[in-house]
Symmetry: C2
Amino acid sequence: MSTTMGPEKPPKPVDLSHHLSELSKARGISPLKGLQKYFGRPGLITLAGGFPSPAYFPLADITVNALIPESFALVPAPHPPSSLSWFWKLFGTDKAKERTSSVTIPKYPTLPGDVKLAVCLQYSEAVAQGQLQEFLRHFVSKVYQPLIEDHSILIDTGNTDGWNRAVMMLCNPGEGVLCEEWTFPTAVASMLPSNIQPVPIAMDGLGLRSDDLERVLSTWDADARQMSRPHVMYIIPVGQNPSGSTMSTERKKQIYDICCKYDVVIVEDDPYYFLQMNDYVPKHKRSPEQATDAKHFLASLSPSFLRFDHESRVIRLDTFSKTIAPGSRLGWFTCNSMFAERLQRQGEISTQAPCGFGQSIVTKILLNWTYDGYIRWLRGLRTEYTQRRDFIIDCFSEEFNLQIGPPTTAVWSGCTTYHAALKQAGVHNGKHPFQGRTMFSLVPPVAGMFLWASYIKLHLDQHPSYTPEREETLEMQLFVQLAEDGVIAAPGWVFSAAAMAGSGDETPGHFRISFSLAEFSDLQKAVKIFERVLRKFFEEQS
Amino acid sequence: MSTTMGPEKPPKPVDLSHHLSELSKARGISPLKGLQKYFGRPGLITLAGGFPSPAYFPLADITVNALIPESFALVPAPHPPSSLSWFWKLFGTDKAKERTSSVTIPKYPTLPGDVKLAVCLQYSEAVAQGQLQEFLRHFVSKVYQPLIEDHSILIDTGNTDGWNRAVMMLCNPGEGVLCEEWTFPTAVASMLPSNIQPVPIAMDGLGLRSDDLERVLSTWDADARQMSRPHVMYIIPVGQNPSGSTMSTERKKQIYDICCKYDVVIVEDDPYYFLQMNDYVPKHKRSPEQATDAKHFLASLSPSFLRFDHESRVIRLDTFSKTIAPGSRLGWFTCNSMFAERLQRQGEISTQAPCGFGQSIVTKILLNWTYDGYIRWLRGLRTEYTQRRDFIIDCFSEEFNLQIGPPTTAVWSGCTTYHAALKQAGVHNGKHPFQGRTMFSLVPPVAGMFLWASYIKLHLDQHPSYTPEREETLEMQLFVQLAEDGVIAAPGWVFSAAAMAGSGDETPGHFRISFSLAEFSDLQKAVKIFERVLRKFFEEQS
């Protein structure tokens, strides 16, 4: 089966209605039969809904001082930290270095078509406000270029809500969902209560492996598994959580074709899409980067599954959590119109439309920035995250001997793997018993917020008190010691799909470090603490 | 069984854990085992979560011009419309008559403990921001005075979300939920997809009837019904939607006692609580009102079920939709801590914490107003709705002959019922064939937004072309004719619990008019249109 990215007219989408769950088939709110066509008619007086008068909304207007799209540089600064957050924290009222632009959202704007609080704060259908819907439609069509033209865009309160609704729409109790072997725990937590089980697929340096996917689906034995062959996939293709892996175009095409062959709906959870970076280059080899323009930036991004989706079997989940703020609680589905209609019905009986304060503020900022400005903002963010990734690996390089070597697990095949050995002497000033030996390994990610996630493999089998039975206990001791000394990292076991399903080990020997939040000075301090704790931990028990 | 509102120590709550659904028992996110105690320690560097740095939130600050708590008068104005909304619409930029106070929410406030955008816009637990949680706790304890002291308060995205989560927590497929015979359609739409059926209980002028509740529960035949005896009740006790009825303290106590006897959890959906009013007095008999103070206002409100809840079996749903704005998408549960913990887990896999823009703005307005200011705001709102209720009934009184008479249905027993007859001649200028005969009846509500909802009974059996079979068709013709002439009202049948369950007629002959939204001039116009359409409709087919 071949896929196309060319301009030829795509074939008609296949009928996917057999994928709707029992829950989804039944779900729906009775419309006011025969009267709906009248809504919105000019001059109509509606006494139908329980809507308060906007006169009783206690807001005259909201004014936002928003950063300008050019707030962050397009190439990494030679000397980080460039983030100004430490500066703002110290001098909260001194805005000397912030460049902002002010936008106001009045209850009743004088300009027709302007964002209007009286509307945004009222009840509405469980869809986006008009201007936001229009912005998203334009954005999706320019940036993701879906192959099928009549895709629908439906707002939600972020990707957690999005995935939860997708599960309810697509899955019946007792079914399975294909996912990466390491995955986002909350996504699995949405499924388990309804007895919908994760079906882990092996990963490599590019994320979910197409060969393992084909193997699992082609050899599926429903009787032995006591589960029908899965028809839904949950996948985080870019800056994968927790592994940090990013999928190539070729791999995506292979996976898409397999999903067509076995009639699988793909739910593409892609919050880190705009945090794609160039490869990590060690500090001493790094040369000043040249800024790329918007066109080249967009062309450099791994294409969404939407780009190949000639059968309309992709539900893409986008969010403003990583590009504006998590507290926006704003995201959106891009999918076929049948799915969108069912997902909207689910919104009507749960969240309704996302918060009007959030919608109006985000919309107004985006409209003020314009599409081009938002792309500029995203390019700046990408640079910031590049700088953060580079900085933390540079810190590891300062504290440890980092050497490139062969990948030590299948998950890293094809990746440039760094092995870290102790540089300094033991805490008791003698030669450390592990001097010169690899203590952990890592792979620099090319997208997202996470360092190697499970890619940092603690070589606990090197620990003097190691026995396979003691492994988890030992690892937990290390995490506790790190926390005691002031650093919290996420243990790898919480991301194991098999462990979450209760069908596998908790797989010790991994953890995930996120470089997205801490100040640069804290990142540096954390790596120093990590080195000291690790050195002491392995020495004291030897 | 006796209930108490006195100061004596309440008995220990009963164990309600057997009410948790299968879904709820399983639902939960794995914590970072053994590491949670370290979170929040001063100086801790956390590299655990996928949190973006607040430096990347593109907001320096948000400034809100909020109406002052005294914006609306405490007694009805002698000459409505007093609402300024028409004024603002026409002269959006002229703020001469608006009294506002400005509040600013900076990303990094200089005052410690101030509302902080850097925190509100970040990921958080699925709970309220600290200052909001504190405000709500104080508010609930002062206003509702829950009998059990250790009640929990948990934020949600409004009562639709709240009820949906309560259903998931309490009900398994195949079970039933006790509810008013006329009820909020969205509440039933949340249940039906999971095969959870409404079990309608008869109503009277005070809402759900305790005698019918006792009858249904005491005579429950699980085999005949193919359903176990319901253990959950959904109830809208104040300004009921759609009927407008408001429950007395005595009735609430009776219902609470029956729910204890049959081990039923009460979910009290109470969005109209603060829109409680005095009785309607015809215009010509109305005398100027005296404003009551805050203490008397609160004492005048029908007590929440929380007030009697010695067994912790009440889940109260509150919302800012009717008191701030629907677009806030902010509400909260008040319930026992076991329920609250399960409901929080559900939030973690769906909405997460409600929108940070909404939370920070609503919080900042409330803190600026203070508790006393918010109570003042609510007293003003109550007066506005009183004025709106009085105004629309006055309009009916101008267009029709309104006469007090005996209630015409069981639902109205105990209520002052107004019967409306045509005042004017027929459209063809002759005497109307229905001149002097009751064409519809209504009961003025003492709370909420709705005029008698199903209490307006269209006496379609008076229509010349009436046959029982034609009734719905005839009624639909009338609604279409009204819409054609510019007025939309909500047909009663959409609120029938029996009809939604597929187990009853669609019960024509009712509709719900909300007087909450339209301008006063439009309310007046709508009633004139209603009179004209009704007159014509009955004349033309005679």
